[in-house]
Amino acid sequence: MQERPPVLAEGLVRHFGDVRAVDGVDLQVRTGEIFGFLGPNGAGKSTTVRMLTTLLRPSAGRAWVAGFDVVAEADAVRRSIGVALQDAAIDPLMTGSELLDLQGVLYGLPREHARRRAGELLERVGLTAAASRRVGTYSGGMRRRLDLALSLIHAPTVLFLDEPTTGLDPMSRLSLWEEVRRLNAEGTTVLLTTQYLEEADQLAGRIAIIDRGRIVREGDPKDLKAAVGSPTLFVDVPTGQAPLAREVLARFGDARPSPEGTLGVGLAGGAGAMSDVVRALDEAGVQLDHMELKAPSLDDVFAEATGHRLEGAAEAAPVEAAGPPKRRGRRGR
């Protein structure tokens, strides 16, 4: 019986020389949820995960995973968790089936049990036909699916996925998302790190945003977005007119971080104020090259919390786009 939540971190710190890569992270992942750990490259996501998965010793602070201390009870942690790391290679000389067998032995599964489980997992991730092929011949998507299967060989209670879809094509990404949802629906608690806003938004029931080693926001993505409030209007104008346009836009709300060459303003009056903005810019003699209104997104949450936008953030949904309700991970009990 676990008294502690599946993942609990208190004041985790990790130095690399003078660099404080993780700077006092407090984290709590509830049983049965998908928890998204969102941040740009170098923010401290992977370092945090490496500490939680016993691969790195914390410089300070404590953490428990599956109820076990990650330093004092590292072996028990390893037996309880599944880990698919961003940089962990899969031996290209082995076949998928051989690697699953090996993983079964490493986790102490009886041979027959391991073999049966390997068959089930290959079926599950759609690699049965490729099971006897060397991994070196697999596509990127197939390797990630095998990686997922390897991390599941011992039916872990907590699954760590470090940037599971980085570098995958859209179809492979969707397929992996489906599998993560399915696992979660079966009761596996998932902690996934990602730099993709959409991924966190689509999959996670709760997220933590990390920047420069510190968690700057944490909660339900819907609540976090709602807390940002007004939508953001992005305006492109000729370079010479930017100061004037900025002056005009300031009348309609606070400036928001925006991609280079674009001005951003949080429209206090919402979408209804757009026509007023257009009129005001026109009257001031500002030529409009392009404008776009976006509903509050996780990128806005990130920008509001950190003062800069997440690299490569392009997934914010336009206000007008009404998509199907998003599926989320099972909520904490």
């Binding site: 790391l85 490493l106 986790y107």
Partner: protein
């Protein structure tokens, strides 16, 4: 939610499974093993062709019973091939570290020492296989092992131990540097070590600083032990010479590799 299936794994089973992987991986990269097999055979072919006339000299100075130059080169071929093979084995460990497979293993409840032991077991198996291969091929081409079956057995065991010993030293390097390139850079060094030994000619034919170098070179000691068995027949002292130094190198290498592993794990 169900409990995880993992129980406390058995280290021996892990060593077995990881050793299998090490051997399978090496055999599947057979082209990379070819230099370690072909070079010694090419040397035998060239030397047998070029130095046949030196046979009376070899008989006069050191081996009155020597029947052919191929017999003379059998011991050095084993040492040479196994030495090159052990570079390849340690490169596998460095590649695991470089590419992240090492980290994958560390994230599992694998016994940390099993990671190292399995690589070394794989190297030893390959060393024995290479020794057997050279013994068989050169026997086909006229070499004669005077010590008979026991001589062949010592050749194979010594091959395994040389691979284990030098493999362990190189594994220490692989673990410390985590660089396959660094390990492979020792390949030319292995050549130099061989040429500066009595692998190709008896020490009695050398003079000056080269003789001193060969006197101190551990490969001279190993090769001569094996050569005595091959040419002169069975003797316990020759068998001991063929095995004692590889055993000592193995002991030192394993200690160094374990220290390197412990340091690497502690640094994480």
């Amino acid at each position: 939610m169900t409990a995880p299936l993992s129980v406390r794994p058995r280290a021996l089973a892990q060593v077995g499974a990881l050793s299998r992987r090490a051997v399978v991986g090496l055999l599947r990269e057979f082209p990379l093993l070819l230099p370690g097999i072909l070079f010694p055979l090419v040397f035998v072919a060239i030397n047998a062709g070029s130095f046949t006339k030196s046979l009376p000299l070899l008989r006069a100075c050191c081996y009155p019973e020597l029947d052919s130059f191929v017999t003379f080169t059998l011991a050095s071929s084993v040492v040479q091939g196994v030495l090159f093979g052990s570079v390849q084995g340690a490169t596998g460990l460095a590649t695991d570290i470089e590419q992240g497979f090492f980290e994958r293993m560390l994230a599992s409840p694998v016994n940390r020492t099993a990671i190292l032991v399995s690589r070394l077991a794989g190297a030893a198996f390959l060393g024995a296989l290479q020794a057997l291969l050279f013994a068989v091929v050169l026997t086909i081409f006229g070499a004669r092992v005077a010590a008979g079956a026991a001589g062949y057995a010592v050749l194979i065991v010594s091959g395994a131990l040389i691979a284990l010993g030098f493999g362990a030293l190189l594994a220490a390097m692989a673990i410390k540097t985590g660089s396959a390139e660094a390990v492979q850079s020792t390949f030319p060094l292995a050549f130099v070590l061989l040429f500066a030994s009595s692998a190709f000619f008896p020490r009695e034919t050398m003079t000056g600083w080269f003789r001193t170098l060969a006197d101190w070179n551990p490969l001279s000691h190993i090769t001569e032990g094996l050569r005595d068995l091959v040419i002169d027949g069975w003797s316990w002292s020759a068998a001991l010479n063929a095995l004692d130094l590889p055993l000592a190198v193995t002991a030192v290498g394993i200690v160094l590799a374990l220290v390197a592993l412990r340091r690497r794990l502690a640094a994480s």
